[in-house]
């Protein structure tokens, strides 16, 4: 083979690789971590912030953003929920097809009434879920999440350390994406919009 042919071949090979790379990007449009097929679908038996018993099936047809937290958390939980509110606002009216499920890791203090006041301070599409310690632990474990109650202070107040990920489920209740609280608003808006557009 002449050197000029070899150069042309290398160039062609490079072009093929480049096209393959572009194609792969098309197949993987997500900016957040894709967990499709790696986490179980949305299933739980809890109580919502109006005091009504609910299951995962009650949210089929909605895109669900699941986040564990507690109402006595003054910094990280409000920051995450404020971010999610801003994301829903940026997505626009379509975001009415989404629900933020804020699941308590502090059932001793988080009554439905407290949860109701708390979630509504952030977004009307946010639902507070609480339940028995057993049911909450089951849901947490289902998504390989964890929480630990820290020792109480002199006033009986305590913090709860908890997994800070945000789990996205599609309208069929399939686990699809995982975001960290550090995820950019742009990436959250991008992926939520796509998820709302698919499988209607």
């Amino acid at each position: 083979m002449k050197p000029s042919h070899l150069a042309r071949l290398v160039l062609l090979l490079g072009l093929v690789l480049l096209l393959a790379a572009c194609h792969r990007e098309d197949a993987q449009p997500w900016r957040l971590t894709d967990i499709s097929g790696h986490m179980p679908d949305l299933a739980f038996q809890l109580t919502d912030d109006t005091g009504k018993p609910v299951t995962g099936d009650d949210y089929r047809g909605k895109v669900v953003l699941l986040y564990f937290g507690y109402t006595h958390c003054p910094d990280v939980c409000p920051l995450t929920l404020a971010h999610l509110h801003a994301v829903l606002q940026r997505v626009g009216p379509k975001a009415d097809g989404a629900r933020i499920l804020f699941v308590s890791v502090d059932p001793a203090r988080d009554t439905p009434a407290v949860m109701h006041a708390y979630v509504n301070a952030f977004d009307k599409r946010a639902v507070g879920l609480t339940g028995t310690p057993r049911a909450l632990e089951a849901l947490s474990k289902r998504y390989r999440s964890a929480f630990t109650r820290e020792p109480s202070d002199a006033n009986g107040q305590y913090e709860v350390s908890h997994s800070s990920g945000i789990y996205f489920f599609d309208r069929q209740g399939q686990a699809r994406l995982l975001a960290t609280p550090a995820a950019s608003q742009d990436d959250l808006v991008h992926d939520l919009y796509l998820l709302l557009e698919t499988g209607k």
């Binding site: 003054p74 939980c77 929920l81 404020a82 708390y118 964890a146 913090e159 609280p181």
Partner: protein
């Protein structure tokens, strides 16, 4: 002690006083706000502290007549776990600044003496290790403020 050494002692004390008085005097507070939560739940307080002095200023507490307790905390979400820890002292370096901001250092304000409404200003006093203090007005903002 002889009478002659008294002026020296006094001068020493005054000198010491001048050195210690006023870590707070060199600190400027800006962007001070409180994330107001419903149902009397604990609120987060945020502020940027700039130290114009030649010595570090060490924040070691805060208080407010509007809240029963104000504590200095630090949040972290590394390793995927959201955690909070108490902070005894926070140093604002000489000619430097420290930001108490969401997701990191913050004040935890609990036991509001009466409901704080968004838009109100809440006076918070920041206490420094040398006993000096700085009062700053924190703007109450809604829970979902960013």
């Amino acid at each position: 002690m002889t009478l002659r050494s008294l002026p020296l002692l006094l001068a020493g004390l005054l000198g010491a006083g001048a050195v210690h008085a006023g870590q707070a005097d060199h600190v400027h507070a800006s962007a001070a706000w409180i994330r107001v939560m419903p149902a009397g739940l604990p609120a987060g307080g945020y502020v940027t502290l700039r130290n114009e002095g030649d010595q570090p200023a060490v924040l070691d507490g805060a208080s407010s007549v509007a809240y029963g307790s104000v504590m200095l905390h630090e949040s972290s979400t590394d390793t995927g776990m959201g955690r909070m820890r108490m902070v005894d002292r926070l140093t604002v370096p000489a000619h430097g600044q420290v930001a108490l901001a969401p997701g990191g250092y913050h004040l935890m304000l609990t036991g509001a003496t009466r409901a704080v409404q968004p838009g109100q200003k809440v006076r918070v006093t920041l206490h420094f290790a040398d006993g000096s203090a700085l009062a700053a007005d924190f703007l109450a903002r809604p829970a979902n403020a960013l």
